[in-house]
């Protein structure tokens, strides 16, 4: 049974590479319009969980329900159709290097919509305008900086007006100012586009700022050990692993005042 505002629900998901168990018993509901954080130390399987949600890695147990459909029980064709509701920003932006920034954003529209080229061009300008990159439309990915590549990747992720956006380490490799701007942008796009966002990150300042729900994966027990918004976990969670995760950063973070 799904609540009406649940957009994706993950049920007892198990992930493993051969005999090596990555995570098991992962269950959570993604609410429409929320920003959901997948947290945990390096190597706990955050990115693996993301991969199984966007169709790159088949889980070994459990279900992912997108709406009312069991995502992994569908055939490849139907899964691709579901994927058109998803927009993904990869860790390294993953822009196609043989195309200009504009062509990168245009390709999904050319492939999956019957729109004429001039309309696509206007939409590409618009999506790049959202991320402040409209002037870079004709540049190659190798000619722009890392932060710009991330933003161009974001423009490509929203090319098909998806209702669920997945971000894999969006602020990795960005300076604090660029990273904060990206956070603002994510919030604005969530409100403006009405999208739901899943974000994999261990950038605590960014998680505290934007995420309103989340799950904490533990690398040792291979299970999720805490649920809730990162802010609440920081302030109220008593599980030692979670406290260590939140505190170690909080000790050197200027946003330390809220800690008791």
């Amino acid at each position: 049974m799904n609540a009406p505002d649940t957009i994706i629900s993950v049920r007892d998901l198990g992930l493993s590479f051969g005999p090596k168990v990555i995570q098991q018993n992962v269950s959570f509901d993604l609410k429409r319009g929320s920003i959901f954080a997948v947290m945990g130390g390096s190597g706990c399987g955050k990115s693996t969980l993301l991969k199984s949600m966007i169709g790159l890695l088949r889980p070994t147990a459990g279900q992912i329900l997108v709406g009312q459909e069991d995502y992994w029980a569908q055939n490849d064709k139907r899964r691709t159709e579901i994927n058109h509701r998803f927009g993904v920003l990869f860790q390294s932006a993953a822009l196609w290097s043989s195309m200009t920034v504009g062509e990168n954003v245009a390709l999904p529209m050319e492939m999956f919509t019957p729109l004429p080229p001039d309309v696509i061009r206007r939409l590409v300008e618009l999506k790049l305008g959202f991320v402040g990159m409209e002037q870079a439309i004709d540049l190659m990915p190798s000619e722009i900086s890392g932060g710009m590549r991330k933003r161009a990747g974001l423009a490509r992720a929203i090319a098909l007006d998806p209702d669920i956006l997945f971000f894999d380490e969006p602020s990795a490799g960005l300076d604090p100012i660029t990273s904060a701007r990206l956070d603002d942008l994510i919030l604005t796009l969530r409100d403006g586009l009405g999208a739901t966002i899943v974000i994999v990150s261990h950038e605590l300042p960014s998680l505290f700022a934007i995420a309103d729900d989340g799950i904490f994966l533990d690398a040792k027990t291979h299970k999720p050990i805490a649920r809730g918004a990162p802010r609440d976990l920081r302030d109220h969670c008593t599980i030692p692993e979670v406290m260590a995760f939140m505190n170690r950063q909080a000790e050197i973070s200027p946003t330390d005042e809220t800690k008791g």
Binding site: L115, V119, E125, G129, P141, T188
Partner: protein, 394 residues
Amino acid sequence: MSPHIMTDPTPHAAPPHPAQTPEKPVWTLEGDTSAPRLVLRGTWSVQDGGMTPFPTDGLAQAQSHGTLTFDSQGVSGWDSAFIAFLWDVKQAASHAGLQFDPRGLPASAQRLLALLPDAPAPNKAADRKKPPLLERVGDKSLNVLNETGTVTELALETAQGACKTLTGKSGMRLKDLANDIWNAGPSALLIVGVVNFLVGAILAFVGLVELRRFAAEIYVANLVGIACAREISAIMTAIVMAGRTGGAYAARISTMLGNEEIDALQVFGIPVSSYILLPSILSLGLMMPLLYIYGTLIAIFGGFVVSVSMMDISPLGYLNTTFEGVSLTEFVFGFVKSFFFASFIALAACRVGLRAGRSAADVGIAATRAVVIGIVGVIAMDAIFAVMATVLGI
């Protein structure tokens, strides 16, 4: 002052929708010229053909310093198409010097619109126009000279490294060398064998058909033996290895460049020449002459199989004729050529890899270029060897 009314000059017919026919997007400009008001109605969705342009001079009649307001009560649904239209309006308003007051719009549209600039900066399209012919020729010439110098330097460094290897001071890891030798030698046996066998068989077949007319079929053994030992096996092996190993070297090195692995070597002060180039070039230089000998023997065997099955000659007789007809100098000549071919292929591939850009597309370009340069270079070198052999009477 009469109200200024304008309707959308290019109405877009919405395609038929299975569930419900969406109201087509309509805009009208109302109010007087000092306080124009844009009234929006309908469904503004990309899928339903709602990409309505707003004319750049649509607000030209309005007085500057006025305020443009909106009435979006009649908008039943919207997506990017609506924002694209509003961005046009925002730019036109900024152009006409009007204040842009988005408060009449849906709140989320206001947030998205705030991200978009009034006047987009001009495209920073990279300067891709061609310089004049003379400049290009000069540029190319300088490049060629520069490349020749760099490649020579690399070749000398490698030769120096190879000499140092003999004394055990080259800094090359023997594990890398063994790995490269395995890739450039034993693992290529099958493809080199198949290619040479077929070439030998084809030569024998064509030779038999022609020589039969002169009752000189027995000379097929000489034809296959000499042609393969002197030229064909050396060239075929080199072409196969240029495609197989040369391409692989270029792709590997350019990928390392993209992953900043080469940068890491440089920062540590590990010379690229001894870590990457030396094992690559040395292994191919050592292995290809051996592959050549193996290829020649297989080619002769290919000719042997075709000849014995197509003409009246004892297998022993064919082999005897081959041994009498093909002198050892042919093999020495081919062996030496193979060494030079191998060094050229490996050196060119490594150089192409090191020069490549850092993206996936560049890796493809580098691999292609390495194979093309390798094959063309091998054939050109073979021509030079042929001329030298004639002059020297080998």
